[in-house]
């Protein structure tokens, strides 16, 4: 990556991050406030109304158990959604300026990850203040999982953003698909709570693996990553490779269809 490509990427990223806050008076405060409010809502709905319980063997409020997995999910789903819109969003730029178009997708996905990472940090801070028992030795494992999640998200966003230029229906369908995916992923519930014949099916959903990996390190004190971490990394690299191939194949003709 040349220096000017890097400069372009940084500027695009800044733009994407700032675009979220343009027009709001104290934009940066919302960055921290939003996730905390969201956490409060989940805590009320699931902790107070539904009386949801953490899986046996853990001593912590349900909301802490939820929050650790919810933010990575937000990174993933919003990254895929925003990233796949990024090409159509920048149609004016694409039809005028010749630039590596992948940058637009990467910048958009990176912006989502950065923003939610900030929220994730705020959440962890609150958990620490509340005295929740977190296992910091599992942090590297968590970070590794986030890296492979970023690779997976970028790959999906690359492929989908290219396809979306041609198949506009995708824009309508994706949010619903993501919602469905959310409930098929053990975020609000633990896989162990399901009947065992259903639990096996859950493993077909790749995000199940990520949730297990993320919770395993920081909550269950299993600080060493096992073979699933490697499989996830390889799997996400394969998805990124496929997404990039689709993107490369379709991107010379974007301008015709935008």
């Amino acid at each position: 990556m040349s220096r000017s490509t890097l400069a372009t990427f940084v500027l695009l990223l800044q733009r994407d991050v700032r675009a979220r806050f343009i027009g709001s008076a104290s934009g940066w405060i919302w960055l921290i406030l939003n996730p905390l409010l969201l956490l409060a809502v989940y805590s009320f709905v699931f902790g107070v109304i539904f009386q949801a319980r953490v899986p046996p063997g853990l001593e912590m409020p349900f909301v802490a158990w939820l929050a650790v997995a919810l933010w990575p999910w937000l990174m993933f789903s919003e990254g895929v959604l925003k990233g796949s819109q990024s090409i159509r969003e920048h149609a004016a730029l694409i039809s005028k300026v010749s630039l590596p178009r992948e940058l637009l997708v990467f910048a958009s996905v990176s912006a989502v990850f950065l923003l939610h990472l900030a929220g994730y940090l705020a959440v962890f801070l609150v958990l620490v203040v509340l005295g929740i028992d977190l296992h910091w030795a599992g942090l590297p494992r968590l970070l590794l999982a986030l890296v492979s999640l970023f690779v997976l998200t970028s790959g999906l966003a690359l492929g989908l953003s290219a396809i979306q230029v041609y198949v506009r229906d995708l824009e309508q369908a994706l949010p619903t698909v993501m919602m469905f995916w959310f409930f098929l992923t053990p975020i609000l519930y633990a896989p162990s709570l399901l009947p065992s014949d259903l639990g096996a099916w859950l493993d077909l959903n790749p995000l199940t693996w990520w949730m297990a990996e993320i919770r395993g390190g920081i909550l269950h004190a299993e600080s060493l990553p096992g073979w699933p971490a490697l499989a996830m990394l390889l799997g996400s690299l394969a998805v990124a490779w496929a997404g990039h191939r689709i993107f490369r194949r379709l991107s010379p003709y974007f301008e015709d269809f935008l």
Partner: protein, 393 residues
């Protein structure tokens, strides 16, 4: 031998059908599996040319001729459907009204973004920032969103960024028309300096004056095909002549040769050329030979007129004005030869029209016309070169 900076070989572009979603989906499928889509509208066909370092090429043509599509292919925004494009320079900068500007962001943000697109790193932009702002000369407006800018201010900013980059290949698409007089002069001065230092430029413009001033070669694009490519004066003059003829055609169809007229024209020959068009230079001699036929042995009168290709009359003269009689050649035929020893017409397209008139010189019986083109490197204005001299006070 130096390598061309840019080389297009048989580049063609078809826009695939994109109207309904079925067509889009089919095109998507074909692109994904075979790497090309079928059908569509041809916008450019078989364009080939090279741009050598230091060359200045103008692309001219009427609206919808494919000029902007060609520029998009050259800048790499668009991939040609067939054919190849090879670029050896590092930077090609397209200057177009508002290209790459996001109206929501401030001028400064857009400036940084555009500079990054043109290959500047963050530090390089910081170093040149003062120069860029001085060139753009839009004051504190740089801190305002571009959506509040006038089109002239947008061009000022865009040009200032490009000027600071000094690209290997500068591509301008109708930008100079937007700025005000003083900024236009500044830009033209900059471009002239850039060209004098060996810069290469590709320019799209409808102003033949600018084209002739700044470019040495021109490419005339008509309905996606190269209509003419060569010296800027030859191409622009043919282009203008073509336009004038087109305008004249639109005004109304001309009378053709009339076989039933009593006094008829048998033939007209311009110079040595029997064919359809004749090219001559400013100040060349022009000889016209007209053969007439008369039924009754009386000599008909002949009237000659020269009109500009758009129909503006330039000069007309008849045999009876000068009390000349056509020369009999037997078989009821008469011949007139008219010679202009030094035709003072300025470059452009013209039509020579000859009329056969009755012996009284009252009625036009038959008409014939033939077009010819005057070429030259002159940038004088008007129709004819008037004899003139410059004197010391």
């Amino acid at each position: 031998m130096t390598r061309p900076l840019l080389s297009l070989a048989n580049a063609s572009k078809r826009y695939p059908p994109t109207v309904n979603s079925g067509e889009r989906f089919r095109a998507f499928w074909q692109l994904l599996w075979r790497g090309k889509a079928e059908g569509g509208t041809a916008v450019l066909e078989d364009i080939s040319f090279d741009i050598m370092p230091g060359e200045s090429l103008a692309i001219i043509g009427s609206n919808g001729a494919g000029k902007s599509t060609l520029l998009k292919i050259i800048t790499g925004v668009l991939a040609p459907t067939t054919g190849t494009i090879e670029q050896n320079g590092s930077v090609a900068a397209l200057l177009e009204l508002g290209a790459g500007f996001d109206p929501e962001y401030t001028g400064l943000d857009n400036l940084r973004m555009n500079a990054a697109f043109l290959g500047l790193s963050r530090r390089e932009v910081d170093e040149r920032l003062d120069d860029i702002l001085a060139f753009a000369d839009i004051g504190d407006s740089v801190y305002e969103p571009v959506k509040h800018y006038s089109s002239g201010m947008v061009v000022r900013l865009g040009f200032a960024v490009v000027a600071s980059v000094r690209p290997d290949l500068l591509i301008t698409d109708e930008v100079l028309a937007v700025g005000d007089e003083s900024f236009q002069k500044k830009c033209i001065r900059w471009i002239e300096g850039y060209l004098a230092d060996g810069g290469t430029m590709l320019m799209v413009s409808h102003s033949m004056y600018q084209v002739q001033k700044l470019c040495r070669h021109a490419l005339w694009l008509d309905e996606g095909k190269v209509s003419m490519y060569g010296d800027v004066f030859d191409v622009t003059q043919s282009y203008l002549a073509w336009h004038e003829r087109k305008d004249a055609r639109d005004v109304g169809a001309r009378a053709g040769s009339n076989p039933d007229a009593p006094y008829r024209i048998r033939s007209m020959t311009l110079g040595e050329n029997e064919g359809n068009s004749l090219m001559l230079a400013v100040g060349d001699p022009l000889e016209v030979r007209l053969e007439l036929a008369a039924p009754d042995g009386r000599s008909p009168e002949a009237l000659f007129g020269i009109v500009r290709a758009d129909g503006t009359p330039v000069y007309g003269v008849a045999t009876d004005h000068d009390e000349i009689e056509p020369y009999p050649v037997g078989d009821n035929g008469w011949v007139v030869i008219l010679r202009f020893p030094e035709l003072p017409l300025l470059p452009g397209g013209y039509t020579l029209r000859a009329h056969a008139m009755d012996p009284e010189g009252l009625r036009v019986c038959d008409t014939i016309e033939q077009s010819f083109t005057v070429t030259g490197r002159s940038r004088e204005l008007g129709l004819v070169r008037l004899k003139h001299e410059w004197r010391k006070p």
